[in-house]
Amino acid sequence: MTLTPMMLIGPLIIYNMDWQPIILTFKLALVTTIILFFLAIPISYWLAYTRSKWKPVVEALVSLPLVLPPTVLGFYLLLAFSPSGSFGQWIESYIGLRLVFSFEGLVLASIIYSLPFMVQPIHSGLTNLPKYLRESAIVLGKSRLITLVKILLPNIKSSLLSGIVLAFAHTIGEFGVVLMIGGSIPGKTKVASIAIYDEVESLNYPAANTYALFLIITTFLILLLVYSLNGGYFRRSIIEIRKKDTSI
């Protein structure tokens, strides 16, 4: 089958689209990004200022999802969360959460999978700040929390924005982890990337094209907005992360 321009654009107009996977994708990306934001700040702060000998270990663990195939992470999470395993059983009976083939499980997997994309920009933002900012605030009698919230974070707004966008975009692009731990349950775990795969499998190209085109356009618009608002810094931080990415 050859693709014609009408086949590309046409589906957006005529195809009676199931929006659920798209809505689910953005819901997952939003929840993951919000939780990651509050999780990554203390981790980045610790990494930026600790003298602990455990720092390289934590750094390596946080960066692990950058290099591992998503299926590896998905496989172990599947084993860990499986209701037939002791950990999965414990979570299900004490917290009442089933983490396999559920939205909550996807969120948890996405948090782990996108962690480096939030931590690295914030970490590098904090380490690039002049040393005197933190020290002056501390000598002025301010607690570490006040110093972080009122002095450090306002001075790394670009890094925070980079982290938010990267984590959000990366979660939208997830496939392997989601497939392993979420499966493809409509309305619960069938996100857009899985929906595209399913539609292609069943040779329903117009539907796959609709999802794919929608993802391209929305992510392009998000990135365009950030680039326009944030100028060079965002590009630099992506390049920095890529450099680190390839050097691992």
């Binding site: 002049p130 005197y132 020290e135 002056s136 000598v139």
Partner: protein, 290 residues
């Protein structure tokens, strides 16, 4: 009384050395630690501020132990009630000048003292400006005002005048002396600039390679012959043997360049950039009223 008795291994460009400082500082005075760059002066201030820990020893301020290695006492920097004007410091760039001062006040600006502090340093017109709009000298004055907003007992100054031009230098110096006297502070100044020390300090400790080698009043230390009918001045060697005269020097004294003639052996001991004290017999000088 501030008692400092500390040891700390430090690294410098010439290799590792040990900073050993043992001294008692009288409160209410301006004390200066004087020495070349890299002898451990800034590290000493950082240890007083609690930003760096001595390897061993103790620091006590007005009867309170801030640091004691044997008793395992190490008060947090936040609880030390001191002000520290760092050499490479500055204001918080995202806050306006006034917000910078208010941030430093322990209980916010309830007493309206922020305005007063800005007025004292002559910067109240710039209160709503962000720090990048200020000149280097204005920033330094604002940092000092911010430091004082914390109401410190001890004021630490790391080369406070070195980066300033003559006018700002004078303004800053006047302000330091005024606030030091008004707030009854104990001020500790580190510097490698004789002029700064002579103008500000009551007592000087000379540091060389991490050790205090001498102490006394600035006049006694830098001008030992004062009161003996001798002209004395300090300056920086700019050129050795100018105009092909092997026993001459060009010396920068204040903002004036002076050619000085001495003996060849004395000149040979010096190198460009050295700080020197010069003295000359002052019998029957010609004096003019100008």
């Amino acid at each position: 009384m501030i008692v400092v008795d500390i040891r700390k291994r430090l690294e410098s460009a010439e290799g590792p050395f040990e900073l050993v400082v043992k001294c008692q500082l009288t409160p209410g005075r301006i004390i200066s630690f004087f020495g070349k760059s890299g002898v451990g002066k800034t590290s000493l201030l950082r240890m007083l501020a609690g930003l760096m820990n001595p390897d061993e020893g103790r620091i006590s301020v007005n009867g309170k132990l801030w640091f004691h290695s044997e008793k395992d006492i190490n008060i947090r920097p936040q609880d030390r009630r001191l002000g520290f004007v760092m050499q490479n410091g500055g204001l918080f760039p995202h806050l306006t000048l006034e917000e910078n001062i208010v941030f430093a006040q322990p209980y916010g600006n309830k007493d309206g003292k922020a305005e007063q502090l800005l007025e004292d340093v002559g910067l109240s017109m710039l209160r709503d400006e962000k720090p990048h709009r200020l000149s280097g000298g204005q920033t330094q004055l604002a940092v000092l005002a911010q430091t004082l907003a914390r109401k410190p007992e001890v004021l630490l100054l790391d080369e406070p005048l070195s980066a300033l031009d003559a006018t700002m230098r004078h303004q800053m110096q006047t302000y330091i002396l005024k606030t030091h006297n008004k707030e009854l502070l104990s001020t500790i100044l580190v510097s490698h600039d004789v002029r700064e020390v002579i103008k500000l300090a009551d007592e000087v400790f000379l540091i060389e390679q991490g050790k205090v080698i001498n102490h006394g009043s600035p006049k006694d230390l830098f001008f030992p012959n004062l009161g003996k009918d001798i002209y004395q001045m300090t300056g920086e060697v700019i050129e050795i043997a100018p105009y092909d005269q092997p026993n001459a020097l060009l010396v920068l004294v204040g903002d004036k360049l002076v050619k000085v003639t001495s003996t060849e052996s004395e000149v040979q001991k010096l190198s460009i950039g050295d700080l020197i004290a010069m003295s000359h017999q002052a019998y029957q000088p010609k004096i003019f009223k100008i």
